[in-house]
């Protein structure tokens, strides 16, 4: 049986001296798209950072069965790609150079990009429809265009596990739809996608939902399950209602 993509056991993490995650346990299956949702301040982004090994924590986190803390940095970077919220500006780097940074974990230090690196970068830029701007500096792009380049950077890593914090920020509806299609293709190819989304209706398109509340997992289950919908409504104080619409689930304010 395939090892889970990520496991967390008794994870505690703090930000600025305040504990955000209180002994959280979680198992995320491989080859699925899992969305983490919850009210503001529930600890969604903190959890994603802990799972990516970017925030110190107590307890244990395992990536594809191996303890995350014991993996060398480059090895971890090849296994797990990260797309953060409001990444740095990189105004002066070209779109190509930014996407190329995703290949750093695969390259020898200061080595010129190999043909495989170039192919991975081209594939990632084409997948996010950013190929045509490859020579333009990131600083000349709009917020949505930039987000697609940053997504290409994360895709270029070609890691089996992809963690994304609010990847749809700044994207217009057509490009949100493209992103959903892309994620489904990645998952169909056996990759694991874990994303934090604040837009519940979009999150309900995932395979699984992890509902966080006050630094704990309040519920984990399939997006199509009625029990998951009830848990969602409860965590949001019955202020939202989940309805079926054209074969999908949507969350509407009550």
């Amino acid at each position: 049986m395939r090892a889970p993509a990520l496991q967390a056991a008794g994870v505690r993490a703090a930000l600025g001296g305040v504990e955000i995650l209180h002994g959280l346990d979680l198992v995320l299956p491989a080859g699925r798209w899992t969305c983490i949702v919850g009210p503001n301040g529930a600890g969604k982004s903190t959890l994603l950072k802990v799972l990516a090994g970017l925030l110190p924590c107590s307890g244990e986190v395992r990536l594809l069965g191996s303890p995350l803390g014991a993996l060398p940095g480059r090895e971890r970077a090849r296994q797990l790609a990260w797309l953060g919220q409001s990444e740095g500006s990189a105004e002066d780097l070209s779109v190509w150079d930014v996407a190329q940074l995703g290949r750093l974990p695969h390259q020898a230090w200061l080595a010129a990009p190999s043909a495989a690196d170039q192919a991975a970068v081209e594939q990632a830029l084409r997948a996010t429809q950013a190929w045509d701007w490859r020579e333009r500096p990131l600083g000349q792009l709009s917020g949505g265009e930039r987000q697609r380049v940053l997504l290409a950077r994360a895709l270029a890593v070609q890691a089996p596990v992809l963690l994304m914090d609010e990847p749809l920020a700044n994207l217009d509806p057509p490009h949100q739809a493209d992103w959903l299609l892309l994620v489904r293709e990645l998952v169909a190819a056996g990759r694991t996608v874990v994303s934090v989304l604040h837009e519940i209706s979009l999150a309900l398109q995932a395979d699984e939902l992890v509902i966080l509340s006050q630094g704990q997992v309040a519920w984990q289950g399939a997006c199509a399950d009625a029990a998951t919908h009830r848990a969602l409504e409860q965590v949001f104080d019955q202020r939202i209602a989940i309805h079926p619409l054209a074969g999908q689930w949507v969350a509407l304010p009550r």
Partner: protein, 338 residues
């Protein structure tokens, strides 16, 4: 063909243009004296004039270029490391730290910056390096890291003022250092001889190679700290290496040429206005641009009120300040660099 061939070609052309400008300016630096422009071929035949060219004008011009290149390199590293287009060796306190180091060395060991000894030049560079490194670390400690731009710049200003005051206090307590320190504070290339060129050239080669080796970290940092770490970059040790490169480059330049403002700030901006590229290229191009800027300013300082000359630090402060104001003005209308 690489998808970035056009950008790479542009960077190569800029490098060639800057190298060409450097050579022309070095030639002018050798030919221009208090009596105006002379023919270098005629000077070569003149037994009285030739030693002046060989021992004063050439090392001075080469020294001005090296000091500018060191400051340009330090500026590119600082702006990348602190992810801040305003970062400059001066704004982070490292130049004041370096000048305090020099003041201490002058007071304790009586090293004269005009001294022709190779060891004295090296000793001053060492003192300036330690002072610069300590000042940057102090600024970083006060600002609690590099994330908060305003706090970082404010801490740099505070450290600069306090260390500058300490330097003045030393000069007051040991008045013999006053003339040497005054020349130093104004920033001048007039005292640079072959013995001062040697440590600067050594530091330049060392810093350029080190900065080039560590440059992928600067590219990674443009996407923010978390993303850089997620790419497996060992940020801790490499960041320290970059601070050391910046401190050594600033220290080596300041120890020999005194306080020369704005070259470190302006050189990377000038390069970026022509070509936007990765730090591996930006660092080298900024060094070339810094060399051209300071050597050009030095020639201007020698020509403006000839046969007398202006301290080049005064000129770069006026020109650089004007450039910064222009950048700010431009940034108000469109999304500019500042």
């Amino acid at each position: 063909m690489s998808p970035m061939a056009r950008v790479h070609r542009r960077a190569a052309w800029l490098a060639l243009a800057l190298l060409g400008a450097s050579l022309v300016l070095l030639g002018l630096g050798a030919a221009v004296g208090s009596t105006g422009l002379s023919d270098l071929r005629a000077l070569g035949q003149d037994a009285t004039a030739w030693p002046i060219v060989r021992d004063i004008r050439v090392p001075r011009s080469l020294g001005a270029w090296l000091a500018g290149a060191l400051l340009g390199l330090a500026g590119a590293v600082a702006q990348g490391l602190f992810r801040n287009p305003l970062a400059d060796p001066f704004l982070l306190g490292s130049a004041s730290g370096a000048s305090l180091g020099v003041a201490l060395a002058l007071a304790l060991f009586g090293i004269n910056p005009v001294a022709a000894s190779w060891l004295a030049a090296l000793g001053l560079t060492g003192a300036a390096f330690i002072g610069a490194m300590a000042a940057v670390l102090l600024t970083l400690a006060l600002a609690r890291g590099v994330q908060h731009t305003l706090r970082l710049l404010l801490a740099g200003v505070i450290v600069g003022v306090v260390l500058g005051a300490l330097g003045s206090l030393i000069t007051l307590l040991v008045p013999e250092t006053l003339p040497a320190m005054q020349a130093f504070l104004l920033g001048s290339t007039g005292f640079i001889g072959w013995t001062a060129c040697a440590p600067m050239a050594g530091a330049f080669v060392l810093c350029l190679v080190a900065a080039w080796i560590v440059s992928p970290v600067l590219d990674g940092l443009t996407l923010g700290e978390a993303t850089a770490r997620s790419l497996g970059l060992p940020l801790g040790p490499l960041r320290l290496a970059l601070v050391a490169v910046m401190a050594l480059a600033t220290g080596a330049a300041v120890a020999q040429a005194g306080l020369i403002a704005f070259v470190g700030l302006a050189a990377p901006h000038l390069v970026r206005s022509v070509v936007r590229t990765t730090h591996a290229r930006l660092v080298g191009l900024s060094a070339l641009a810094g060399g051209v800027l300071l050597l050009g300013a030095d020639l201007l300082a020698r020509a403006l009120i000839a046969p007398q000359e202006l301290p080049v630090g005064v000129l770069t402060a006026v020109l650089g300040g004007g450039y910064l104001l222009w950048l700010m003005q431009r940034g108000r209308g469109a999304k500019g660099a500042v």
